[in-house]
């Protein structure tokens, strides 16, 4: 196995609220290898975005309480703000969910795409703009020379997301974090953007963390996935294995809630009962146990650790760790 490019170790990020501390990220650990695409899946509020922002140290007003983010032998949680600025946008780039609001409305698109080059490489306006236009062309913006003169509101949503991706890639970062990059887009556009991300991953070898709530997206994009629930990783493993034999009841339930082509025709979709937990007041034991179809007595008492279950997967579940297969119900 190659040396991981990015290693998140036991990360805890908390937010202060009126009702107390919210553990948005509660002991998350994972590795990202050079050139791979890693999927992080979970419902809204499960901590996947905060995990990504914590890597960039942009989690404010949240606070990284403990844990390490090792990137090229350096712990980013200990880096100074000046060192972090060198990492952001240069070695780790990030693109966001809503391309409509993620670009500054008052600056020309080309100027914005070129900005990381001016900041990080100290290039002049002309050189950086030429490079930005080149990149805009590579991400599939037609007549990029002219479009670079346009303002963000003159682009469609899908085109704006391409602009965001171009902006992230100008400095050829080693890691690209895509936080729900297709959620705000039309379905047809979603496919184009995913194609682009796949293409970028192959052409530039950029390791990608793809954050999404959409299992269909990770299925086509990622070799490995991580499933998060209530700030914790509940399951991790190769995508095909996780999809074929989920080792956590939450993953199992998620997979049953989406339509499948190979399902029996009359088989209704089965939503997950109940609501995601309130992060201020988590259930005792396993946070998923109130919604779990397989729960045993121990689940409401002790928190399960993430452990190897089967040959390739990790799961934080008392039931599967004891060897029970998830079936039926």
């Amino acid at each position: 196995m190659t040396q991981p490019l990015l290693e998140v170790q036991d990360l805890h990020t908390v937010f202060s609220t009126k009702e107390g501390w919210v553990k948005a990220v509660d002991g998350v650990s994972f590795e990202l290898h050079p050139g791979e695409t890693l999927g992080i899946v979970g419902e809204s509020g499960c901590g996947k975005s905060v995990t990504a922002l914590s890597i960039m140290r942009l989690q404010r007003p949240g606070l990284i309480k403990s844990g390490r983010v090792m990137f090229k032998g350096e712990d980013l949680t200990k880096a100074t703000e000046a060192e972090m600025r060198e990492v952001r946008g240069r070695e780790i780039a990030m693109i966001f969910q809503d391309p409509m609001t993620s670009l500054n409305p008052v600056f020309r698109t080309g100027w914005q795409v070129a900005e990381p080059l001016r900041l990080h490489h100290g290039w002049n306006a002309k050189k950086s703009l030429t490079s930005a236009i080149n990149m805009l062309g590579k991400v599939g913006i037609p007549s990029a020379v002219d479009r670079a003169e346009d303002y963000p509101h003159q682009f469609s949503g899908g085109m704006r997301q391409r602009v965001m991706i171009a902006m992230g890639l100008t400095t050829t970062p080693e890691v690209l974090i895509a936080d729900e990059p297709t959620t705000a887009l039309d379905v047809t556009i979603q496919a184009q953007i995913l194609d682009l991300l796949r293409h970028v991953n192959q052409e530039f070898g950029t390791a990608t963390i793809l954050i999404t709530h959409n299992l269909g997206v990770v299925a086509g994009m990622c070799k490995r996935i991580i499933v998060m629930y209530a700030g914790r990783i509940v399951e991790a493993g190769p995508t095909t294995d996780v999809f074929a034999h989920p080792k956590h009841p939450y993953t199992w339930a998620l997979l049953r809630s989406i339509p499948r082509l190979d399902a029996e025709r009359h088989e209704p979709l089965k939503p997950i009962d109940g609501l995601p937990p309130n992060l201020v007041d988590l259930p005792s034991g396993c946070a998923f146990h109130p919604r779990c179809a397989f729960k045993i007595e121990k689940c409401s008492r002790d928190v399960p650790a993430l452990q190897r279950v089967g040959d390739t997967q990790l799961s934080a579940c008392w039931v599967t760790q004891a060897g029970t297969e998830l079936k039926g119900a």
């Binding site: 960039m56 600025r85 966001f96 609001t101 409305p105 900005e115 965001m164 902006m167």
Partner: protein
């Protein structure tokens, strides 16, 4: 497109000019009674002299006839002569205008220069002690009446300092009558009235920038800017402020007529020989022509200020197009 837009705006504003001047005239005409402007200067006049004076000033005719006559003159660039001293209204305005521009221009400039950092600091540290302090100061700025603040400043910096033999600031006028008029002398006269006026501007605008900046800083593109690895200063003052200042332009545009009349109270308190003071004095004397002239001038500036703000808005915000 743009020229058409400007032309249409100016046509629409004609109605405003007519309305404002007509209302001003009606108010003066209805409250005047039998008073004849300038008559207290010559108390010994006989009744037939007074009747002749009235006829000369056109006051024996109904107000609408007077108004139409006045409008006719304005259309031909003639604002008439003062009913009090007989010199042309235009010469009065041109005489006072530089003083007013000096005072309000300085105040607006100081107001902007202080309001922007104060507003940004308030937004960056909202909820902090510094923010609360600035809030209190700002609220005081538009809660404290300008005439009161002016009098207090005069009391402290002119009266008390002089009594204690300390260097003091002049309390009235734009320059010293004797051996005055050089730069230092004018600046000394400017300090107190400009302080009162700029304090007001600073208060209003800093509150505005604060809330505008707070809103902008929570936008997604600010997060994008941070993720690109730029310094916090660049994030706030380039990507943030550039957006937050857009609505401020309208506010300052609306303040443009203040260049003529906004400092009226301050001009009166500090005896500043500006247009506001002129309008105030002449209104008390029912100098129809002068008051109408100043009103017309101020109205045109309101309209021009609004238009200018709207046009500038389009320059600052690429999303806005005129049609």
């Amino acid at each position: 497109m743009l020229a058409k837009y400007v032309a249409r705006r100016f046509l629409a504003s004609l109605v405003v000019v007519l309305g404002v001047t007509l209302i001003t005239l009606v108010l003066m005409d209805r409250t005047r009674g039998t008073y004849v402007p300038g008559i207290d200067l010559n108390p010994a006049l006989r009744p037939e002299d007074i009747a002749r004076l009235r006829a000369d000033l056109g006051l024996d005719r109904p107000f609408y006839i007077w108004y139409l006559t006045w409008i006719w003159g304005v259309v031909h660039g003639d604002f008439g002569r003062s009913m009090i001293d007989g010199s042309t209204v235009m010469s009065h305005i041109l005489d006072r205008l530089p003083n007013t521009l000096e005072l309000t221009g300085t105040a607006i400039l100081i107001g902007i220069v202080i309001a922007i950092p104060v507003g940004v600091i308030g937004a960056l540290r909202h909820g902090s002690k510094a923010d609360h302090t600035l809030t209190v100061v700002s609220v005081a700025g538009f809660a404290v009446p300008q005439f009161w603040m002016g009098l207090i400043l005069i009391l402290i910096f002119s009266v008390t300092l002089e009594q204690h033999g300390l260097p003091w600031l002049p309390s009235s006028g734009a320059y010293s009558a004797v051996n005055g008029g050089d730069f230092i002398d004018r600046v000394e006269h400017l300090i107190l009235p400009a302080t009162v006026l700029s304090f007001f501007y600073m208060s209003t605008w800093s509150r505005f920038i604060r809330s505008s900046m707070l809103e902008v800083l929570s936008q997604d593109y600010i997060r994008t800017a941070r993720a690109k690895g730029m310094s916090e200063r660049r994030v706030v003052y380039l990507h943030g402020l550039r957006n937050a200042l857009i609505p401020l332009v309208t506010l300052i545009g609306l303040e443009l007529p203040g260049l003529v009349s906004g400092g009226l109270v301050v001009e009166v308190v500090f005896g500043w020989p500006g247009i506001g003071k002129l309008a105030f004095e002449r209104a008390l004397q029912y100098d129809y022509t002068t008051v109408m002239g100043v009103t017309f001038f101020a109205t045109m500036l309101v309209i021009a200020g609004n238009l200018l703000a709207d046009l500038l808005y389009g320059v600052l915000d690429p999303r806005i197009r005129y049609s």
